[in-house]
Symmetry: C2
Subunit: 351 residues, 2 copies
Amino acid sequence: LPETGTSPRPAARVTAVDVARFAGVSQTTVSHVLTGGRPVAESTRVRVLDAISTLGYRPNQLARALRSQTTKDIAFVVPNVANVAYPISIRGAAAVLRPTGHAITVYDSDDHVPTQALIHQIADRMPTGVVFLGLRPSARERETLDALRVPYVIGGVAVGAGSEGADRADVVFTDQEAAVRAVTGRLAAAVDGPVVFLGGDAHDEGADARERGYRAGMADAGREVAVADVALVPYSLDGGRDGMQRLLADGIRPAVVVAGSDMIGIGALLVARENGIDVPGELRIVGFDNIESTTVTVPTLSSIETHLADQGAQCAELLLERIAETYTGAPRVREVATTLVQRASTGVLAG
Amino acid sequence: LPETGTSPRPAARVTAVDVARFAGVSQTTVSHVLTGGRPVAESTRVRVLDAISTLGYRPNQLARALRSQTTKDIAFVVPNVANVAYPISIRGAAAVLRPTGHAITVYDSDDHVPTQALIHQIADRMPTGVVFLGLRPSARERETLDALRVPYVIGGVAVGAGSEGADRADVVFTDQEAAVRAVTGRLAAAVDGPVVFLGGDAHDEGADARERGYRAGMADAGREVAVADVALVPYSLDGGRDGMQRLLADGIRPAVVVAGSDMIGIGALLVARENGIDVPGELRIVGFDNIESTTVTVPTLSSIETHLADQGAQCAELLLERIAETYTGAPRVREVATTLVQRASTGVLAG
DNA sequence: CTGAAAGCGCTTACAG
DNA sequence: CTGAAAGCGCTTACAG
């Protein structure tokens, strides 16, 4: 078997100089036929193109980037790549970015707001633009990017407004408060028993927006919210199970559970069924995120879909306009509509 | 509101020249205190470090890469970033790569074997190494990488051997055939009725390995495999539903369903329950992948776990050794053990 | 329509 | 222990 690393000589990469010599033109001309920077006589253009293909020349992107001060790399910053939500958004963005020749770099902020170190690591590679998904860079990190003139977009967040005053970035968001508010209002109007909120205890932007939505929906339906009606649990199946179990132990028999996530909703659903509670007959449940698992429970779980791929695509579009400077105006706020996906767990909903 | 793009002057990036001037040393010395390339007097080292921090200097990675002919970028090529499996592996790799200062770039091959164009796009950015996950580059693409002296690793595949002759890359795999074989053997030994395989119709490496595993497991148990015992369906919930429905329509009442994926297994499970078949009493089901949905069905689905994060981490380790040339020997094949996660759908399994 | 030369921001022989 | 200079592989004024 041949061993790797056996031959120490560097790979003989073919460069623009080789092409120029082969075609009998200057390096300048080679560059121009490639970039279309200026007109080249058809005959020489053909000669250069031939040289390129016979030599198998591919321009070094690093050198190009260094000289022209622009890469074609878009950096994505996400809290956690392993969370299904982000890859879906990234893929949505990739579909928009691929045709324009941009490459995608992914940075995982490890469930934190991006640190200065991470932003530097990103900036040092001179990305053409940055997309933050599911998090907002803080003021200091934004200043770093602004100083370097690197445009960035914030997507996958729950509210349109910036977290802290004047935002210089475009924002793509779903109005999670309105989505939860609407479904809460409809469910609350349909039942007499307790309408409870089993939310996540993370207190991120989305969690807070969803709790506000629940409260607003209750108000819309003219219903009071007792202290015991809101329980915050971990964002997990067990969180939902524990939350539901505690309610039952406290003698509360909810008629509606508005869940802060699908996994919480499914946990509640499973405990309800284990306790002989009919869903949706006696208890209606709605989740949030519309993950795949909502389709495999019995009954299936109704949920709010936030169109992640779409959000990613919109981020890419806004960013490309900033990069091309076809838009140079004030920060834009783009809303992606949510969809209530009605399945069995909510029964038939009027309105 | 301040408009983006208002000031057209380029960002005044501070360079090594600025630092050198400020510290009263040569650019060479600045470089050496940064890279540790050669000893620097402590007093000047301190002066340079001071200059760096007061000026906020950060070396341009592009320039560094161009000159030293080495980036610190690791490229990941996956069939589909939106498939949960890959981000999990990537995150496992990221944990290994982060401490060494490597950045991760992700390329989506759009559910195909990577094309020459994609490999070129990757190679043009001079990655330090490439990790292929869930797919194997073909001979031509491997030659391209070999010629450029870019080490690569193949991970997340189902068998240890290369797809085509001499493989020059390290491979990280799970023995999916053995995993399915073992569980099939145990289940087949425990029942008298039909033991069927509901596999995916994709005919990728993993699908084929799992079908072989089923057949081998049946042989181990001394059981015949009839033509009707193997059905290939789409890798989806509906695929599993349809497959199970067809079996029942054909008058086959399986005692065991070995599923090619969890979603197929869950589809079969739901249809079984809709038809009043007791799982695991009358029918035992085992899936593959151990996705989250296996924990929310009633009964919960037993499944085979392939430890994706671990596979990613191993890929990163092997690759780092190739990059550092602490290993330069023959291609290595590293197996990551699978785990049978027993849940309710298989009942109590002897052996 | 085309070329010679400078320069992007680093690292790295070469020299002292 | 330190510096001047070349060069990585391109693009882009400048010139003709």
